[in-house]
């Protein structure tokens, strides 16, 4: 035994193996010296013996060493037969390590791997859910094509398992099987479809992951589960949240119409969202067709908001990109605070977040302007973070803050990190071109930098000044003269080339200096860099054309030098220029235009952000980070012109709804107010039938007024997508909405105070007429509804009694209804009238002592109900 262990020590080369051995069994003496003499073969023999021994401790010891070998990337495949025998071991740790080994080497030893399958098949039937799950996990991880049918069967069975944990593992197994054998796709999609219907929070994330991997294009599978996923989202584990949010972003872009107003819908570089107020006014004047958000669209935006508070950077980023891609532009502002918070995190997180902010800040400056100072650079930041921050600062620069920024940039220019200093100079150049007020200030600042002692700084300044001057062909003779003097001291080729080019372009403005420069350059031509040589040739040609008297000989001298240069580019250029400018018998028609060719007005270079075009990638993706399409990147589609039928998302439509849907469709042909008013009547009658007499009276009275006001508001403030409440047809909804907006103090409804007051009165009347129970918990339910939109862990309210739970459900219901009752301008069949009976039920439910009846009638609450029920189960202490 001990001699064997020596052998091992030698193999894995080092004391660490010895330590391992010691840790596991005390029988092994730690001396590696003898091991030097033992061979590879012998060592494996030793491990085999240990694996075949009767003692668990020896087996375990052997397995630990083998895992150590795997971890180091050493080949341990020889031991496969010996290891596989232990797959049925009673000792859990041995078993686990055998699994590790099996998953690693099964692909290489397919035949032998089959020996283990029966063990897993047996375990799949184990009464303990955790054993079933782990059996499925390992079985599906063994990449052996022969067992595909067995895996398929196991997955199918597991997908119908009673334990959500096993179903979760089934979802994981789907991806594994798919990567092993893509031909199983159709069958797997069936399983996915089934698992998507699952209501457990454990399963949701994993199955969406499988969906994304196997059939991301089958968006139709999501319809029925959309609302459920939205509602489960807050309770799903964080990794699942990321995957679900990304999938739902894609879904939303295919199923809803754009919430962005048409004129700023495409690109709004100039108009930041501060301008949106003005835009709105304009729009109202134009009386364009009002946009109203699909309630499902709103549901998604609302339910993801609390996740901005997640501790997981990936979740926050996922929500941020969701808001960026699918929320109305006026609402996307809330993500900036959370993104800025992430900047406190690790360097890698900072890097990704800053990249995304850079892309966002190009398009919508206003979002990050309040956080300008958060992007100030610290000397301890890594260079890549510094340059990204600089990029964002440039994007955020405007007339108001440029003076502060320039002062900040001055500090950066002096940084010891020269790469960063150079980047800062470029930034100053970009600010100078973007903001015309400061162009001159920047230019003079850059000229000052020309006397800097650091060459890189000077060179960068020259290059940037060149670009600036090119954009402003005004009188900058002084600067050019100054730069001509610098030619004596600057050695960086790019800078020298830039100066020469600049002199050449402006040779008529500096008629005295230019020929002198050419003279100097002719002297040093041979020792210059290729880049500079080309520009000397250019300068010569330009001067020859404008001032041939003084420079003819010089130019010819330079052309002769160029003719025999080592670099063929320079020889080519020389030949070309000579043909073009020196008149000879063969010179063609082109030489007539030589001056035009050389001294044409050149378009100024655009100093653009490197993040300019990144926005065509979905934010937060790998492709965005790389600015290149990564394998498996799923394109975010453009908004559809006309929203697809939203009724596909309805889950179980009860009979009444079926009656109603065709009616709705018919009305859709000409979406007039009549549709709503009719439904209103219907609502009204149903409402009053369920309500107590006194209330129905007051409500019907209200109804008339409301009909009016909704008409008014639809004309006046309809462009505001928020003013949903103005269109409410149902009074109950209306009340909920008012309560909501009132408590939120958001001022969403711009309909005026009068309505608010009215709703208050109706509120109170409601409280009076409904049971005592209701009124007692009214305040509570109000607060509930207030935070409902951000409800997270709704379910975990321990103190709330079940009674209140029911109340909350009622408010939930009305909140949802509110959404559903939007007079959607899109021509779609609204299933919403179907909800009216549920409302009745809600109202009735208030008087009932048991909550179950309420729940059972209410339709979209089916999912919510599940969560609520789950809540109750989840908290055994909730009575």
């Amino acid at each position: 035994m001990s001699s064997n262990s020596f052998a091992y020590n030698e193999q894995s080369g080092g004391g660490e193996a010895t330590e391992l051995g010691q840790e596991a069994t005390s029988t092994i003496s730690p001396s590696g010296a003898f091991g030097l003499f033992s061979s590879d073969l012998k060592k494996n023999e030793d491990l085999k013996q240990m694996l075949e021994s009767n003692k668990d401790s020896a087996k375990l010891d052997a397995m630990k060493r083998i895992v150590g070998m795997i971890a180091k990337g050493k080949n341990a495949s020889e031991l496969f037969p010996a290891v596989v025998k232990n797959v049925a071991s009673k000792n859990i740790e041995i078993k686990k390590l055998v699994y590790v080994y099996l998953v690693r080497y099964a692909e290489e030893q397919q035949d032998l791997a089959l020996l283990s399958i029966s063990t897993f098949q047996r375990a799949l039937k184990d009464p303990n859910q955790l054993i079933r799950a782990s059996a499925l996990r390992v079985l599906s991880s063994i990449r052996v094509p022969i067992i595909v049918p067995i895996m398929m069967l196991a997955i199918k069975e597991a997908a119908a398992d009673l334990s959500p944990y096993v179903r979760k593992n089934a979802a994981h197994a789907i991806q594994k099987l798919y990567s092993l054998d893509p031909e199983q796709k159709e069958m797997l999609i069936e399983v996915i479809e089934k698992l998507l219907k699952d209501k457990s929070i454990l399963v949701a994330g994993s199955v969406v992951m499988a969906f994304e991997e196997v059939c991301p294009d089958r968006i139709d599978l999501i319809h029925k589960n959309y609302r459920k996923l939205c509602n489960l989202l807050v309770d799903v584990e964080e990794w699942g949240q990321v995957v679900i949010i990304h999938m739902l972003t894609r879904y939303a872009r295919t199923q809803f119409v754009s919430p962005w107003r048409e004129d700023d819908g495409l690109e709004d570089n100039e108009k930041s969202f501060y301008d949106s107020d003005d835009e709105q006014k304009e729009k109202t004047d134009k009386r364009k067709k009002p946009y109203t958000m699909d309630p499902d669209h709103r549901l998604l935006i609302r339910n993801t908001k609390p996740l901005l508070q997640s501790r997981n950077a990936a979740v926050v980023m996922a929500v941020a990109q969701l808001y960026w891609h699918i929320s109305p532009k006026s609402e996307a502002g809330i993500i900036s605070k959370s993104l800025v918070r992430l900047l406190r995190s690790n360097r890698e997180v900072q890097y990704i977040v800053l990249q995304n902010i850079a892309t966002m800040s190009i398009q919508r400056k206003g979002m990050f302007e309040p956080y300008l100072k958060s992007f100030y650079v610290r000397s301890t930041d890594p260079t890549m973070i510094k340059t990204l921050k600089l990029e964002i600062l440039t994007n955020l620069a405007n007339e108001a803050n440029i003076s502060t920024l320039l002062r900040e940039f001055q500090t950066y220019v002096k940084s010891q990190d020269k790469q960063f200093a150079a980047a800062t100079i470029q930034t100053i150049g970009r600010c100078a071109t973007n903001i015309s007020e400061v162009t001159d200030t920047c230019l003079s600042g850059l000229v000052c930098l020309l006397s800097n002692r650091d060459e890189i700084v000077v060179a960068e300044s020259v290059v940037v000044i060149k670009k600036l001057l090119q954009m402003q062909p005004a009188q900058h003779g002084e600067i050019i003269k100054h730069m001509a003097k610098l030619l004596d001291s600057i050695t960086v080729p790019v800078a020298r080339a830039s100066i020469l080019w600049l002199i050449g372009e402006n040779c008529e403005r500096v008629p005295k200096i230019a020929p002198d420069v050419l003279r100097k350059m002719a002297k040093s031509f041979t020792s210059e860099d290729d880049l500079v040589k080309l520009q000397i040739l250019n300068l010569g040609a330009k001067l020859y054309l404008t001032n041939s008297k003084q420079t003819k000989l010089l130019t010819q001298y330079i052309l002769n030098l160029g003719k025999y240069d080592q670099n063929y580019d320079i020889r080519d250029r020389t030949r070309f220029i000579r043909q073009l400018i020196v008149p000879n018998e063969k010179s063609g028609a082109l030489s007539k235009y030589a001056k035009k060719i050389f001294l044409a007005q050149k378009p100024a270079p655009l100093l653009e952000s490197p993040f300019k075009d990144r926005d065509h990638f979905q934010l937060g993706t790998l492709s965005h980070t790389l600015n290149a399409k990564a394998a498996g990147y799923l394109e975010l589609s453009n908004w559809p012109e006309v929203a697809p039928d939203p009724s596909v998302r309805n889950v179980e439509v009860i009979d009444l709804a079926k009656e109603w849907t065709p009616a709705g469709k018919a009305k859709n042909e000409n979406p007039t107010k009549k549709f709503y008013s009719e439904s209103e009547e219907e609502e009204d009658s149903s409402d009053s039938s369920s309500d107590s007499g006194s209330e129905s009276g007051s409500e019907s009275g209200e109804e008339d007024e409301e009909g009016d006001s909704s008409e008014d508001s639809s004309e006046d403030s309809s462009s505001e997508p928020e003013s949903e409440s103005g269109h409410q047809s149902d009074t109950e909804n209306r009340r909920a909405a008012k309560r909501n907006s009132k408590t939120k103090g958001k001022g969403d409804s711009k309909d005026g105070k009068k309505e608010n007051e009215k709703s208050k009165t109706s509120d109170s009347s409601n409280a009076e007429s409904s049971s005592v129970e209701e009124s007692s918990s009214d305040s509570e339910s109000e607060s509930e509804s207030e935070s409902e939109s951000e409800s997270r862990k709704v379910t975990k309210e321990k103190e709330k009694k079940a009674k209140q739970d029911r109340n909350r459900l009622a408010t939930d219901a009305s909140l949802l209804d509110l959404d559903d009752f939007n007079p959607v301008s899109t021509p779609v069949a609204l299933p919403t009238p179907a909800l009216s009976p549920s409302l009745i039920a809600d109202l009735e439910g208030l008087n009932l002592s048991t909550s179950s009846s309420v729940i059972s009638v209410w339709i979209p609450s089916a999912d919510l109900r599940a969560t609520h029920q789950a809540t109750l189960q989840q908290h055994p202490h909730v009575k």
Partner: protein, 418 residues
């Protein structure tokens, strides 16, 4: 998602590899080494490196690169956040996360990694669940295991994963029930040459150490919750309660965890507790420069400032410094040009100062920028934002726990430009 993981030490050795799908050859790391070479410092290695067939996403912590190999599109933060979670887990398990420790515990590391990911998708990342699955190694347990032959792997099956409070173990028992909360605030600031504040922010966290029996349900309320501008919670906190009542209500995980991190709203002016008086000049004519800094308390609300450490990255032209501190010790590394002065406590009667001369490389030009000074300090028993915990209540269990709360203010990224 995550295909493989490689752990690479600072000298460029791959000392651990783990694959969750088919094996990816470790030669893929060559691309990483290339990038590492190009970036002069470890900090500058790009976190995302594309290679022809894979993408390498890495995090750098504790002088170890954790390189994940990805084959298809995935949110990069997803991977990065996960890798950081791996490091945190190792730290939690072994106390420190370093190469020798990982090598010593390679089996546990492997078992943990196996549980954390399934087919590259995170499975169990809560340390409470992991600890139930695989017990962290302790000296005692190692001894016991060798004698009795029992194992590190938990023999009961974990129930945490199935429960609705996945962050908490079931069946927790303590003889002393205690709950400690540390409110730690950090000041991030940039102070300019003249001593005026360019930016200053307060970021705070509440770290908790909760050792309570059973399933306690805690509520924590603040005197002035309005101070908290932007918050992020541990998943255990009920968001709704916070939204409606500004109360933290939660069933805590067992052991140490970060309950909350917050940002104090920008409207509140940040009190800067220290000032630095500096006089640094490099003269051209002689190759000598003058260096003098003094640190003093500013707005400390009567508390002492402790643990003051001043560091500064000197320009390359500096050869050496001969300095004498009035208190504490100082070091200057002529290779990295890093000056570090461990001041200790600030005595307001006798302000600590560091004076002396700087010798510059002969012939080299004068550095055009004075170095920035980074400051670290600690103030006990003070939350600089003024945040105060009002009370902590426990429901759901009968015993009376011992409750403790501690405040502390620290310097975050505190820089003084000179």
């Amino acid at each position: 998602m995550i295909h493989s993981l490689f752990l690479i030490n600072s000298s460029g050795d791959i000392f651990l590899e783990k694959h969750w799908k088919s094996v990816v050859s470790r030669s893929v790391c060559d691309y990483f080494f290339e990038a590492q070479e190009r970036a002069t410092e470890a900090e500058n290695v790009p976190p995302v490196i594309p290679t022809p067939h894979h993408y390498l996403l890495s995090v750098y912590r504790h002088k170890i690169f954790f390189v994940a190999v990805i084959q298809t599109e995935v949110p990069p933060l997803f991977v990065i956040e996960f890798l950081h979670r791996v490091v945190d887990t190792f730290q939690d398990y072994f106390g420190v996360c370093s190469e020798p420790v990982i090598k010593d515990n390679v089996v546990v590391v492997y078992e943990v990694l196996e549980e954390m990911l399934d087919n590259g998708f995170p499975l169990a990342t809560e340390s409470n669940i992991l600890k139930e699955l695989i017990k962290p190694p302790t000296i005692l347990r190692t001894v016991v295991n060798t004698i009795t032959g029992s194992t590190n792997v938990g023999d009961q099956l974990p129930t945490g994963q199935l429960s609705v409070v996945p962050w908490r173990r079931t069946g927790v028992k303590y003889t002393n029930n205690e709950a400690y909360f540390d409110v730690v605030e950090e000041i991030d600031a940039i102070i300019d040459k003249s001593g005026s504040t360019i930016t200053a922010e307060i970021q705070g966290v509440i770290d908790a150490c909760v050792k309570l029996t059973g399933m306690p349900d805690l509520t924590l309320s603040f005197m002035n919750p309005r101070l908290l501008d932007d918050v992020s919670f541990h998943p255990c906190v009920r968001f709704k309660r916070w939204e409606s009542e500004r109360i933290l209500s939660f069933i805590p995980p067992d052991g140490n965890f970060r309950l909350l991190s917050y940002h104090v709203s920008a409207q509140n002016l940040v009190a800067i507790p220290v000032y630095v008086k500096h006089n640094i000049s490099f003269r051209d004519s002689t190759s000598l420069g003058r260096f003098e800094i003094t640190v003093g308390p500013k707005q400390t609300m009567g508390k002492t400032i402790e643990g003051v450490i001043v560091t500064s990255q000197m320009p390359k032209g500096v050869l050496n410094m001969s300095l004498s501190p009035s208190q504490g010790t100082h070091t200057f590394d002529p290779v990295t040009k890093m000056l570090s002065w461990d001041v200790g406590k600030i005595n307001p009667q006798k302000l600590p100062s560091l004076k002396g001369t700087v010798s510059l490389q002969a012939g080299a030009s004068r550095p055009d920028e004075n170095p920035t000074i980074n400051l670290q300090f600690k103030i006990q028993q003070l939350a600089i934002s003024g945040l105060k915990v009002n009370r902590l209540d426990m429901y759901g269990e009968k015993y009376k726990p011992f409750k403790g709360i501690k405040y502390m203010t620290k310097a975050g990224k505190f820089q003084v430009r000179t």
